[in-house]
């Protein structure tokens, strides 16, 4: 029965790890608030912006987080460049903020190649941000490949939704 105990212990251990993640969130929220304050200080003309988090404001381009790609491609298309640039500017002026760029692919082809392709997609966003002055210490790229599809049908309408990088701020 030692094994069952071991499994239980491992589950508890992992649950404890998950718990740590949860505990980190208030800290991140504090960072977010200071970030919002810095934003307010940087833009004194923006009277509405004192309380609103620009990252959550649906009228702000920073609330947009997804870059979409053509099949087999990982270059950031022109229509998504203003959005990536806006996030790069935000990160460059908010040194405490951190993002994960999560790359995804559609379900076709090799799972392992898709992990690599998803990484390449996330990396193309990271490199754009690097050029605009964001250091790697503020960006972690990770790929889910085809493993975490947002849309689950087996045709182009879902596939195009899943060929995507998401910009996720720490604490979100």
């Amino acid at each position: 029965m030692k094994k069952v105990l071991l499994s239980t212990m491992l589950v508890s251990l992992l649950a404890a790890c998950a718990g740590q993640d949860v505990k980190e969130q208030p800290k991140a929220a504090v960072e977010d608030r200071s970030a919002a304050q810095q934003q307010a200080a940087a833009r004194p003309m923006d009277q509405a912006g004192v309380e609103a988090n620009p990252l959550k404001d649906p009228n702000n381009i920073l609330s947009k987080r997804s870059v979409y790609y053509d099949y087999d491609k990982s270059n950031v298309k022109d229509e998504y460049k203003p959005m990536v640039e806006a996030h790069a500017k935000y990160l460059a002026s908010h040194k405490a903020a951190k993002v994960a760029v999560q790359g995804n692919t559609d379900e076709r082809g090799s799972r392992e190649y898709n992990i690599a392709l998803g990484n390449h997609r996330a990396d193309s966003v990271r490199k754009m941000m690097n050029v605009l002055g964001v250091p790697d210490s503020q960006i972690e790229t990770v790929s889910f490949g085809e493993e975490k599809p947002r849309a689950t049908c087996h045709e182009e309408s879902c596939w195009k939704e899943n060929r995507r990088s998401d910009i996720v701020y720490q604490g979100e």
Partner: protein
């Protein structure tokens, strides 16, 4: 997030250890094992020249919970290389050589016949005797006897099928091997191992996050795999004997595509710690990381040649994913595939003379085979969404994942493309198969 790490029943390996440990295994089997339906195998297509063979029901097997002759016949039939002669219709079913009427079996079309008996010994063990006879020459081809426990009946049947296969085809039998694969039902993912005939499925790891790329250690005692349980791909190595596992690679970014070196001491893995996906070598205990490939694009899916001298892999350095080869120092890089613009997931054949891979042909993905000496490519399958091909240890069959009516299933195809099988479970998607090695203890 939920993770359950399990120790599957490795009874075949366990015989050679001790009984107490086997008992613990039996407990884990009763806790976890029975929940899983066996993989069902459907045969589509057959070999060109099938050998007609009669597998006569063994004396004494009707009284046992598990017969031998039916398992032997099913194994041989599944290979596509044999035609099973109906022995139930025979007026007399021999169990000893002296009882065989060869003329009668020849008249029924049999070129060979297997006969045998199972005798319960005073200590409760079973003595299985078996003879393979040449019905044409009227001579014995092989004869063996085994003393086993009732739990070993299926394994013994596979061993007998392996012997018949070897005697009649000249190739090594793989009926006693195991396979690993992933079952996904909703958000539930399980890494399972099962016998090559789909029976005895055992859960190795259960998780609410994806698991991919299981890879057997060459001695069949450990599995390396990639788990997303910590929200990104991390490589683990888990012992099938103890159930214990350890992180093999957990570097910044992605950690994936583990492949064991033939001596089991090292693994080739793919990391993004330096930016793009590149191939690294790491010791099986997680020490001694060393970068092997240097390209500005994607290098992934490494597979060792059987002699350990080469690694074949997928790279998009030429603009589209193609198969390349390098030596295990990362030098002598050479492109191997030139047809089409999507060739991925290469695996060396056990004899090292060819490799299998997935080729995209007009939007469909097929299992293909390329001869290393001639460069000649043969597409083996007509299924359309094929992934993850791997060779049986004798090189005669390939196991792969595909999709039928939107559901993930496993399929197998012979290396000549003639014999085709489909393996499916009652529910869920099955994917990421890898055929395990021949175990030395078998």
């Amino acid at each position: 997030m939920e993770i359950l790490i399990m120790k599957p029943n490795m009874s075949r390996v366990m015989y050679f250890r001790n009984f107490a440990a086997a008992l613990v295994c039996a407990i884990s089997l009763s806790l976890f094992g029975h929940a899983h339906a066996a993989l069902t195998i459907e045969i589509v297509g057959s070999g060109a020249n099938q050998i007609p063979v009669a597998i006569v029901p063994f004396a004494g097997e009707a009284a046992l919970p598990q017969g031998i002759s039916t398992v032997v016949a099913a194994d041989l039939q599944r290979s596509g290389l044999f035609k099973i002669v109906d022995s139930a219709a025979a007026p007399f079913q021999p169990h000893e050589q002296s009882e065989v009427n060869y003329t009668d079996w020849r008249a029924r079309g049999a070129e060979a016949l297997a006969i045998g008996s199972i005798l319960r010994l005073p200590d409760g063990k079973l003595e299985v005797r078996f003879h393979l006879l040449d019905a044409v020459k009227q001579t014995p081809l092989a004869g063996y006897s085994y003393v086993i426990s009732a739990a070993q009946l299926r394994a013994t049947a596979h061993k007998i099928a392996d012997l018949i296969y070897e005697k009649l085809t000249g190739d090594v039998g793989v009926f006693g091997t195991r396979i690993a694969y992933i079952v996904k039902s909703g958000k539930h993912h399980e890494l399972q191992v099962a016998d090559a005939d789909g029976y005895g499925a055992q859960t190795v790891l259960a998780s609410s996050e994806p698991i991919i790329s299981p890879s057997w250690s060459p001695d069949g005692t450990r599995l390396a795999y990639v788990s997303f349980e910590r929200k990104k791909p991390i490589i683990y190595v888990q012992s099938l004997l103890s159930g214990q596992r350890q992180v093999l690679a957990q570097f910044k970014g992605n950690n994936s595509a583990p492949a064991w070196s033939p001596d089991g001491k090292q693994l080739a893995i793919v990391l993004t710690r330096d930016g793009g996906s590149q191939i690294y070598m790491i010791n099986a205990d997680g020490s001694g990381l060393k970068r092997l490939s240097y390209s500005s694009g994607i290098d992934t899916e490494p597979s060792f040649s059987p002699d350990g001298a080469w690694i074949i892999y997928t790279s998009d350095r030429g603009g589209s994913p193609q198969i390349y080869r390098m030596n295990t120092s990362g030098n002598s890089v050479q492109r191997l595939t030139f047809e089409g613009n999507y060739n991925v997931s290469p695996r060396f054949s056990p004899d090292g003379k060819s490799f299998t891979f997935i080729q995209r042909v007009s939007g469909s993905f097929h299992v293909a085979l390329q001869d290393l000496a001639t460069g000649q490519v043969q597409v083996l399958t007509d299924t359309r969404m094929d992934e993850s091909p791997s060779f049986a240890p004798n090189g005669k069959m390939l196991l792969y994942a595909t999709e039928i009516s939107g559901r993930g299933i496993l399929a197998a195809v012979s290396s000549d493309g003639r014999v085709k099988q489909r393996l499916s479970t009652q529910s869920g998607d099955v994917r990421e198969p890898e055929w395990g090695p021949l175990l030395k203890s078998q």
